[in-house]
Amino acid sequence: MEFDVAYLTAQWPALMRGLWLTVQVSALSIVLSIVVGVLGAAARVLQVPVLDKLIVGYVEFIRNTPLLAQLFFIFYGLPGLGLRLSLFWSGVLCLTVWAGAYQIENVRGGLETVGKGLREAAFSLGLSPWRYFRLVAAPMAIRVGLPSMLNTSISLLKNSSYLQAIGLAELTYVAIDRISMDFRTIEMFAAICVIYLVLVLFLSFLASRLEYRLNTPFRT
């Protein structure tokens, strides 16, 4: 059982195609989940009637159910309602819904540090809720909420590997597929472990840089 480098180089293009799909799905879902997070958190902090209760329920539900079951529900269950999505978009939807719930909490955690006094001051100055949110709350909240938001994004990247269960040909799927054909287990696992590690560490690095940059005005 020796390590076959030639095999790995031969399979490299396939792995890269898988990686590209992983990156696409993750990037799209990260952006969308942050949008969900910001909108959801805004609705909760502004206490929009009915909607805020619904959001609490949504967050609790997603956090207390396995991602795999959510994925199967979306991919195999939703067609029962007449909603049929492609593999790719099922994946994006699933990851967005999952990460969105966490992002709502992250953003809300940030927004909550913006004091009540500031809000009252903003409203008494005649700012609309939207402008208060955009001009006052968001810039302050983002500094507090950012680390956990980036953590969630990194988790999302890792969890994109769940999509292999429905057959989306992303990185993990490619590797498992090749293993079941060629039995080059060690090589494949070494390759994908390294790729995932590099991706995650790279994102963590970006995250710490970003935090550093955003905190520039507050550093003494």
Partner: protein
């Protein structure tokens, strides 16, 4: 409903399997977390680095890859693991990587003077851990550990991917069987029911964790003015 009644024994078996898997994993993950987490608070640089590598490695690699790795690679070393054992190993390693951080955070939350006073009184290192810092750290450790258990229960669903007949797999089998034998697809209802069941189990655990956290906070003796209060380490995402 009919589907549920016909498959009830099967479903209960699946639930039992899920619970067994979660408890087995919790058992091993707890042991590893406490041993390595405590070791990481000792003053040995190299030991700390090793634990750090372990934690980073298993937290940065997706859990699915981790489980597949154990499942596929163990046989190459002549270790024939059953799917159940493979998942238990994979989840325990992942769970302990998260648990170590919780334990370490818990010990770090104990004010430093506790250790210093104990050492000044001549207590040995193991005595300090066992009688002084340990019990205090436990307050900060327990609530996030319940959170970890919730995550573990959710993660057991990954057993389905390598062929453990746990609750989620049972749902999958019911869907397939009904589609094949009866010609209609109950995926929507079955997966909705599966989601709901997990939700009931996990939200009960979450609720228990929150209760525990409130309870432990309330029992804490009043901090003297000027005493350092340390924030609870937040539970880490999967």
């Amino acid at each position: 409903m009919d589907l549920l009644i016909r498959n009830l024994p099967f479903i209960l078996q699946g639930l039992a399997m899920t619970l067994g898997l979660a408890l087995a994993t919790l058992f091993f993950a707890t042991i590893i977390s406490f041993v390595l987490g405590t070791l990481a608070t000792l003053h040995f640089g190299w030991l700390r680095v090793l634990v750090k590598i372990y934690v980073e490695l298993f937290r940065d690699i997706p859990l699915i890859v981790n489980i597949f790795f154990v499942f596929f690679v163990a046989p190459l070393f002549g270790l024939e693991l059953s799917p159940f054992a493979a998942v238990t190993v994979g989840l325990s390693v992942w769970g302990s990587a998260n648990g170590i951080e919780i334990v370490r955070g818990g010990f770090n939350a104990v004010p430093k003077h506790q250790w210093q006073s104990a050492a000044a009184l001549g207590l040995k290192t193991w005595e300090i851990y066992l009688f002084i810092t340990g019990p205090q750290a436990l307050r900060a450790i327990l609530p996030p550990f319940v959170g970890l258990l919730t995550l573990l229960v959710q993660a057991t669903s990954l057993g389905a991917l390598v062929g453990v007949n746990e609750f989620f797999k049972v749902g999958q089998i019911i869907v397939e069987r009904t589609t094949m034998m009866e010609g209609w697809n109950p995926a929507f209802t079955v997966y909705a029911a599966v989601l709901l069941t997990y939700f009931v189990i996990c939200s009960t655990l979450t609720w228990f964790g929150r209760w525990l956290e409130r309870r432990l906070k309330r029992d804490r003796p009043q901090a003297r003015p000027g005493a350092v209060t340390v924030a609870q380490p937040a539970a880490q995402l999967p």
